[in-house]
């Protein structure tokens, strides 16, 4: 229970800090908006093409937005060495990761939800009854990106070429979940949409595996 209560306190801190500074959200929302708008005007896709290529573009935009968002999540803890204070204060270091993962997932989901109507309008697609399925896909996909991204963010924060290292490590590791997320989203955007439960299962499996790895070995990542 100490783990969850510590994580809840830290999540509250993350949310309060972000909504006060709006550094991450404003950056990622503007970035995704620019990407979606540029793609829509460059390709000027038909509805059929949008259904086929749109999800890929959307997830690519989310990936790059996430890499922007994930980069500072542990760098901010280094400014005043607050990470050391957290390590001394929490009973389980995984609480630090859990809070960061929840915060990153929340911010990423918020960005995605804000972009969804913009994407629907510009790419002339409608989600209608498939909205719950889309939300489930976004939740699992964003969680996967956040889990892997948070783990890599703490590694890259201690490295010299940190700005290059995170995307370099992030892209190959996230390829499986991005491919599956895109495939599931494509199915949900078809004229006769359906939920690809196998894909949902793979995404959930990806999330559980990386979350478990982080739970087991996260403490070592925090050490100086």
């Amino acid at each position: 229970m100490a783990l969850l209560s510590n994580a809840a306190v830290l999540l509250g801190k993350e949310v309060r800090t972000e909504f006060r500074s709006r550094e991450l959200l404003s950056t990622t929302i503007v970035f995704v908006l620019v990407v979606v708008v540029v793609f829509s005007f460059t390709f000027d896709p038909t509805t059929h093409e949008s259904r086929r290529f749109g999800p890929g573009l959307l997830w690519m935009a989310f990936l790059f937005a996430a890499s922007l968002m994930l980069q500072p999540c542990f760098l901010r803890e280094q400014v005043n060495d607050t990470l050391s204070a957290l390590r001394l204060a929490v009973s389980d270091p995984f609480a630090i990761f859990l809070a960061k993962i929840c915060a990153n997932t929340l911010f990423l989901l918020l960005t995605e939800l804000l972009m969804l109507p913009v994407f629907a309008a510009l790419f002339n697609v409608s989600f209608g009854a498939q909205l719950p399925g889309i939300l489930l896909t976004f939740c699992l996909g964003s969680l996967g990106i956040s889990v892997v991204g948070t783990a890599l963010a703490v590694i890259s924060a201690q490295a010299r070429m940190r700005e290059l290292l995170l995307p370099l490590l992030l892209l190959p590791l996230l390829t499986p979940i991005l491919v599956v997320s895109t495939e599931v989203t494509i199915r949900l955007m078809q004229p006769e949409p359906y939920m690809e439960w196998k894909g949902i299962g793979l995404m959930a499996g990806f999330d559980v595996v990386f979350l478990t790895v982080l739970w087991l070995f996260g403490e070592y990542l925090l050490e100086e």
Partner: protein
């Protein structure tokens, strides 16, 4: 503010090395700090004072050797208060918010009341709702000290705690540490030169090149530990 008695923690460094690449920050350091001691650590820049404190806080793992905590450390996560060079507080939170967050993490009873109490003690009551980024260095240091004292720690580690403090705050810190020392709290503090804080110490050690070169209890040789120019 009454200072509650604590279960003290003793520290045993046994042949501890800490290496960063080829550079030894600590070299073959063997040091026994009894529970309840107040130890001042002196030494030039780069002598290993900060590393010693970070190893004691278990923020840094020794490359070789071991650190054993004893006494009140039966609890798997003993309360350790640490004031480092960096303030270890969030600039984007207010002073009160910072203390409440850390108090909640350390499961301090009535976190808001405890935060208010400490902010009053360090003279920041009227600025408790201001963002820390608007504070001067000395005010940030006072918040850092308040954060370290939140959970009434059994082990206090201070890395040059007087940095940025004015005379009034220094006097308060000295008095507060005196009370903590008298209740049995183990205190390790790195200091530059002789000061009121140094006079609180019951023992002084001097580091050079990551090793202890002088270790004395309070007495005739005590002041000589700080007599060498450290800067």
């Amino acid at each position: 503010m009454p200072v509650a008695p604590v279960r003290s923690i003793g520290l045993q460094f046994d042949q501890v090395d800490k290496r960063y690449g080829a550079v030894y920050a600590l070299r073959n350091l063997t040091l026994n700090i009894t529970a309840g001691e107040c130890v001042a650590i002196a030494g030039r820049n780069g002598s290993g004072k900060t590393t010693l404190l970070r190893v004691a806080a278990q923020l840094v793992r020794a490359t070789h050797g071991s650190l054993t905590l004893s006494g009140g450390a039966e609890h798997p996560k003993p309360a350790i208060g640490f004031v480092a060079h960096a303030t270890m507080v969030y600039d984007e939170l207010t002073a009160a918010e910072n203390l409440v967050v850390f108090a909640k993490l350390q499961r301090v009873a009535e976190p808001k009341r405890r935060a208010d109490e400490l902010l009053r003690e360090v003279g920041l009551e009227d600025r408790k709702d201001s963002l820390v980024r608007t504070f001067s260095r000395g005010m940030r240091q006072r918040v850092a000290i308040a954060r370290a004292l939140l959970a009434q720690p059994a082990l206090l580690l201070f890395d040059e705690p007087g940095t940025g403090l004015d005379a009034e705050s220094s006097a308060w810190l000295t008095e507060h540490l005196r009370k903590l020392r008298d209740t049995g709290c183990t205190i390790l503090m790195s200091l530059h030169g002789d000061s009121d804080l140094a006079r609180l110490a019951t023992r002084a050690i001097r580091l050079e090149g990551g090793s202890v070169i002088a270790d004395t209890q309070r007495g005739a040789m005590f002041q000589s530990i700080f007599a060498v120019t450290d800067c």
